[in-house]
């Protein structure tokens, strides 16, 4: 809401500077978002009148040479503007003066410049050059009564406050509303004009303005109308036009301008029909008929939604109630009789209809927040008063037609005095509170332990209960003056939720392992997810892809009563963000790809966020998910290792092992598995028992290509943290340090190339029994030293007893057992 202070001062005599007023309003709840001070900008702008105008005699460009009267003299100005005519009043900046906004937006000083041989002694300003708007197609034409030779600021250009208005205070969408607030914070009274005092030539006709029929009284609490004959759509006087400009409304003609003026001043939207263009004097307020259309003021034919309320002249809808008027009855240059309407409409209905039509107007934005019926009649009389004052034509005015379909109810709210202390925290006595409330227009009675307040009609929307009055008192006392305290109770320290605790442990482990934390968008598209499939395997409709093959632990989804289908938005903003993601991998790979453009070293990223799975008839399953990606050179290139080489499958596995270690997960295993996005020989699944909780491996080169990741191999992992954390979390217990020495034995075993190393370890562990403390694979060899199709695996074993020092004999017994099992079960041979 733009508030010209000069206009505001009609209603309240505030003796504050612009900055002080802005500060006070902000700190009591009307946030001033900006202050405009055109008077400073317009220091050098004066009012001139074009007295002669002819085409430039020498220029090939369409230039005009204007003689401009600036009061005490005439000057020559060369201008390219196409819109000026002899007699126009225009803003002028003389040579040496400052034009507020030059071509680059900054102020420029005007110089005497010959243009095609004729020297221009000044410049005429457009709206853009004056900073009024972006309009720059012609010179800004001032109203005809603008005084020639005077500074522009003598008729317009006072300071303007730009106020942020909140949705529960429609009363502040008016100058009078702001005046009430200003009066309250400066302890003044608002001075309202006596709208019954009408000066001018007004003849009252004793006939009703209209014959009114309201079919939907619940949607139209009040409808007031007045027929005024003898009007003319002439230009508005300067003071009126400039106030509208300052408030952000473009002046059109006196009749339209006055409806806007009264709306801005009183907050009551109005509509002026050309009465002669209405088919009859009978006005019907009714619901739109099925399929009914209206050609609105903006020239668009609109079909009306069901539940839209229209104003009809008998049969035909002539305006969409409370939103926008119809073109067929709008004011034109020929208008001589107008029918002025001021009504109140049901807020939710206006909201719904405006949204359905896609139209938002000054009127609808006020009605949708709730207008009170008390203002319709004063607004109509204010219009008449101003019209009579401005026009010199005799007006013939019919009797006001006014129908109150639903009487407003007065509301009294009681505020127990203890609520002030209890909710605000400082003692505020009853007298102070009562005074603040009466300054705001409440009818206040102090009772024993409470204050009862009759809510003024303009605050019916937001004042309903005690807490609302508490706020009114507190904000006038000033939040800034309140002390800052802390809640008095000391709370017991909260216990961290185990899921969050594990998640943070995992996060820390990944960071310590050199992975960088990222956070990507959870909205995505089918097409973006489908990139995880080989190009040849993508089906024509991306919705049909086998998503269960992509995600880790697909069985975990039905176990949570969900299905492997994405959650779809009903109203996506773009096709790129139409569903909630079921996997983090595509966006993590996108991050690798983007960063690869800047650097190819250590592109290690992880993200922990939710993935979403649709549930019928319930909120979706939101699965806590971790994704990791490694690509690029595995170290920074460094003098100690100038060619580090790419990441491998085992870099990823090592990182996963580290985080599994930190979660204390026991007995997990890694199993070769097929995954549509991964290299068939380098993809694995991590499991506990038969429960999968992660997939990882090297991204298939064709899939990597879809992410423009062609230069380095890419390793990825996706972990179902719900499953992992569900399996993790044995409490840490101290284990005795070993008291007896260990015996160490190395064993090199030649086995079939296909034999998984884990199988060998499993046999070693089983046979080693309690005394086998560890069995670590420290070498794997394939090549000329072993037969083809065979490999050598070297294992380092530590044997230790908790109770005694193992003898040579003890150790050899165990080793014989291990070797025997390797030979018999695995067909392995021992290398010496």
């Amino acid at each position: 809401m733009r508030v010209p202070l000069e206009w505001l001062s009609d209603f309240v005599d505030f003796e504050l500077s612009t900055d002080e007023l802005a500060e006070r309003l902000t700190m009591t709840g009307l946030n001033v978002e900006g202050i405009e001070r055109p008077s400073v900008e317009w220091r050098d702008v004066i009012i001139g009148q074009v007295v002669e105008l002819e085409p430039h005699p020498h220029s090939r460009n369409p230039l005009n040479v204007a003689q401009v009267d600036i009061g005490h003299q005439r000057i020559t100005i060369v201008t390219g503007a196409p819109n000026i005519r002899v007699g126009d009043k225009v803003p002028v900046v003389l040579v040496g003066g400052r034009l507020p906004h030059g071509p680059d937006g900054n102020a420029v000083t005007i110089e005497a410049k010959p243009m095609a041989g004729i020297t221009s002694h000044g410049m005429l300003g457009s709206e853009r050059e004056l900073g009024l708007s972006d309009e720059h197609s012609g010179i800004y034409i001032l109203p005809p009564d603008a005084p020639v030779g005077s500074p522009l600021v003598s008729v317009m250009g006072g300071d303007v406050l730009d106020l942020e208005t909140v949705s529960n205070r429609p009363d502040t969408l008016s100058i009078v509303g702001i005046a009430r607030e200003t009066a309250a914070i400066t302890q003044q009274q608002v001075v309202m004009p006596d709208v019954t005092a009408i000066n001018g030539s007004v003849q009252w006709i004793d006939q009703p303005s209209i014959e009114l029929q309201i079919d939907v009284p619940e949607l139209c609490p009040r409808f007031s109308a007045m027929r005024i004959e003898g009007v003319a759509a002439v230009p508005s006087p300067t003071w009126l036009a400039s106030r509208l400009e300052a408030a952000g409304q473009r002046p059109i003609n006196l009749l339209v301008d006055l409806t806007n003026y009264v709306m801005l001043e009183y907050g009551q939207p109005m509509h002026a029909f050309d009465a002669d263009r209405l088919q009859s004097n009978r006005i019907v307020v009714r619901l739109a008929r099925s399929g009914e259309t209206v050609r609105t003021l903006d020239g668009v034919i609109r079909s009306l939604p069901a539940d839209a309320v229209v104003v009809a002249d008998g049969e035909r809808a002539v305006s969409v109630a409370g939103i926008i008027g119809g073109e067929e009855s709008e004011i034109t240059d020929q208008t001589t009789t107008l029918l002025l309407e001021a009504a109140t409409w049901d807020a939710p209905n206006i909201r719904f209809t405006a949204k359905a039509l896609g139209v938002r107007t000054e009127a609808s934005s006020r009605f949708e927040k709730g207008q009170q019926p008390e203002t319709t009649v004063p607004a109509i009389f204010r219009f008449l008063q101003l019209l009579a004052q401005i026009t010199d034509r005799p007006l013939r005015v019919s009797r006001l037609s006014d129908c109150v379909a639903r009487e407003p109810e007065d509301r009294t709210v009681t505020m127990p005095l203890r609520d002030l202390d209890r909710l605000v925290g400082v003692p505020i006595d009853a007298d102070t509170a009562a005074e603040q409330l009466s300054l705001l227009g409440f009818g206040v009675v102090i009772e024993d332990t409470a204050i009862s307040a009759v809510v003024p009609y303009w605050r019916r929307v937001d004042i309903e209960q005690s807490a609302d009055l508490v706020e009114e008192v507190a904000r006038l006392v000033g939040f800034d003056s309140l002390p800052a305290t802390l809640p008095r109770r000391t709370m017991r320290p909260p216990v961290t939720d185990p899921r969050r605790r594990w998640e943070e442990i995992i996060r820390e482990r990944l960071l310590a392992g050199g992975a960088n934390e990222i956070t990507t968008h959870s909205l995505t598209s089918y097409a973006a997810m489908a990139r995880l499939f080989l190009p040849g395997r993508r089906s024509a409709s991306p919705q049909e892809m086998p998503w269960e093959t992509i995600i880790p632990n697909p069985e975990g989804v039905p176990a949570r009563r969900a299905v492997i289908e994405p959650v779809k938005l009903l109203n996506p903003a773009t096709i790129e963000r139409e569903i909630l993601r079921m996997t983090l991998l595509p966006s993590v790979l996108d991050v690798v790809s983007r960063n690869l453009k800047n650097s190819d070293e250590r592109l290690v990223f992880f993200e922990i966020d939710r993935t979403f799975f649709h549930r019928h008839d319930d909120l979706p399953y939101e699965r806590e998910t971790l994704a990791i990606a490694l690509s690029g050179e595995r170290h920074m290139r460094h003098w100690s290792e100038p060619q580090p080489g790419p990441y491998t499958f085992f870099d990823m596995k090592g990182l996963l092992e580290a985080l599994l270690h930190s979660t204390q997960l026991q007995n997990w295993e890694s199993i070769s598995t097929a995954h549509p996005s991964l290299h068939p020989g380098r993809s694995a699944s991590l499991r506990v028992g038969d429960r999968e909780f992660a997939i990882f491996g090297q991204v298939h080169p064709e899939v990597a290509h879809s992410f423009e990741l062609d230069t380095f191999p890419v390793m990825v992992a996706e972990v179902d943290l719900d499953a992992l954390i569900g399996a993790a979390g044995a409490p840490r217990l101290f284990r005795e340090l070993p008291r007896y020495p260990a015996a160490y034995r190395d064993l090199a075993v030649v086995v079939s190339r296909d034999l998984p190393a884990a199988r060998l370890q499993q046999v070693v562990r089983r046979e080693g029994g309690d005394v086998l403390e560890s069995a670590r694979i420290f070498d794997v060899y394939e090549g000329p030293q072993v037969p083809p199709d065979q490999k050598s695996i070297a294992v380092e074993m530590a044997l230790r007893s908790a109770n005694t020092t193992l003898t040579q004999e003890d150790v050899e017994t165990v080793m014989l057992r291990i070797v025997g099992a390797i030979e018999h079960e695995l067909g392995g041979t021992i290398r010496d």
Partner: protein, 347 residues
């Protein structure tokens, strides 16, 4: 004097003198080791002197023994001294040989970087945790009822702008705020309550340098028998003091939110102009940090609390905004690009 005794003493003296010369002439510890064997070993000239012992009388034997021991001791002392000298010299040479270019960069020990947004989230949750706030996360996809109705924002409320909400079903939305977690928390707990509820929120808004259709929010909630507006002011002031550091001014002014009454907005002074107004704060001098207020009695009633008996405050913190204000970041879009050059700046 026995000739043999005299001869032995002479040989001993010669061997001793030769040995001392040899020790003095050595240039390395390896050489010195040879000298040691040559002059103090069993076959050395010094030891060989004792071969005549059997032919000497007791007194001579005693004298010769003493002389041999003295010579050996002298030689060993010389050897040891020389060993120290040469050892030190050789160590110095080795050190010189092992000299490194200390200006070369050290070996990398790369840590990962936390994303600045999540870094701030952690920091703010840490501050709240120290004040006794329990952390609770609600779902991203919420019932309309929780996101709006129970927060005193019924269907036709002007604050509920359908345009801004992503719908996933008739009665299901992507939460537009973390406030619905308040409802869940209050339904599951009884006062006294201190809870922090972090998470991503979604609004159907065009994205630019200061708007995103997905953003992070941390909701704070305190409900107790005696929570006051001044407690809210104090709590927010303390959070800012710890997060932004001493000396950054904040102000607290009335505002409107449907689920709080009274409602307040917290502003922080612009880091560039310190409240006087400049280009970077749009001339206002102050930048909005987030909304807050006393929990609306209708919200307390909606979760079955008695607003006559308990009161509470709630606040929303936008960690992305906080991060921007703290570090002077001007474009919100950087938070969602995950550019390592950006992420690496804040750890």
């Amino acid at each position: 004097m026995n000739e043999e005794f005299k001869g032995a003493l002479d040989r001993l003296e010669a061997a001793r003198a030769e040995g001392l010369d040899a020790v003095a002439a050595t240039l390395s510890t390896a050489e010195l080791e040879n000298v040691r064997v040559q002059y103090t070993g069993k076959k050395s000239n010094v030891s060989q002197v004792t071969q005549v012992m059997g032919r000497l009388d007791a007194d001579e034997r005693k004298q010769l023994g003493a002389a041999v021991n003295a010579a050996k001791t002298e030689l060993e002392t010389a050897l040891s001294k020389r060993q120290t000298e040469l050892g030190r010299r050789e160590q110095e040479q080795r050190f010189e040989h092992e000299r490194v270019d200390v200006t070369l960069p050290g070996m990398p020990y790369p840590d990962g970087y936390r994303h600045p947004l999540l870094l701030s989230v952690r920091e703010i949750l840490g501050i709240l945790g120290r004040m006794g706030y329990d952390v609770f996360e609600g779902p991203d996809v919420e019932w309309e009822r929780y996101n709006f109705d129970l927060l005193n924002t019924p269907k036709h409320h002007p604050a509920r702008d359908v345009q801004d909400t992503f719908w996933v079903g008739d009665e299901m939305v992507l939460r537009t705020q973390t406030s619905p977690a308040q409802i869940r928390y209050m339904k599951a707990h009884q006062p006294p309550i201190r809870a922090a509820m972090p998470g991503f929120c979604y609004r159907n808004e065009a994205e630019d340098a200061s708007h995103a259709d997905r953003f992070y929010q941390i909701e704070g909630l305190a409900v107790d028998t005696d929570i006051r507006l001044t407690d809210l002011k104090g709590t927010l002031t303390e959070i800012c003091r710890v997060y932004f550091g001493e000396g950054r001014r904040v102000r607290f002014r009335p505002h409107y939110f449907p689920f709080t009454e009274p409602s307040a907005e917290l502003d922080i002074e612009c880091s560039v102009c310190h409240g006087t107004g400049c280009r970077s704060c749009g001339g206002e001098g102050w930048l909005e940090l987030g909304g807050s207020g006393m929990v609306h009695p209708n919200v307390l009633r909606a979760v079955g609390y008695d607003p006559e008996k308990v009161s509470g405050f709630a606040f929303g913190i936008g960690p992305d905004r906080y991060t921007m204000m703290k570090y002077g970041i001007t474009d919100l879009r950087l938070f969602r690009e995950d550019d390592l050059r950006f992420i690496a700046q804040f750890n």
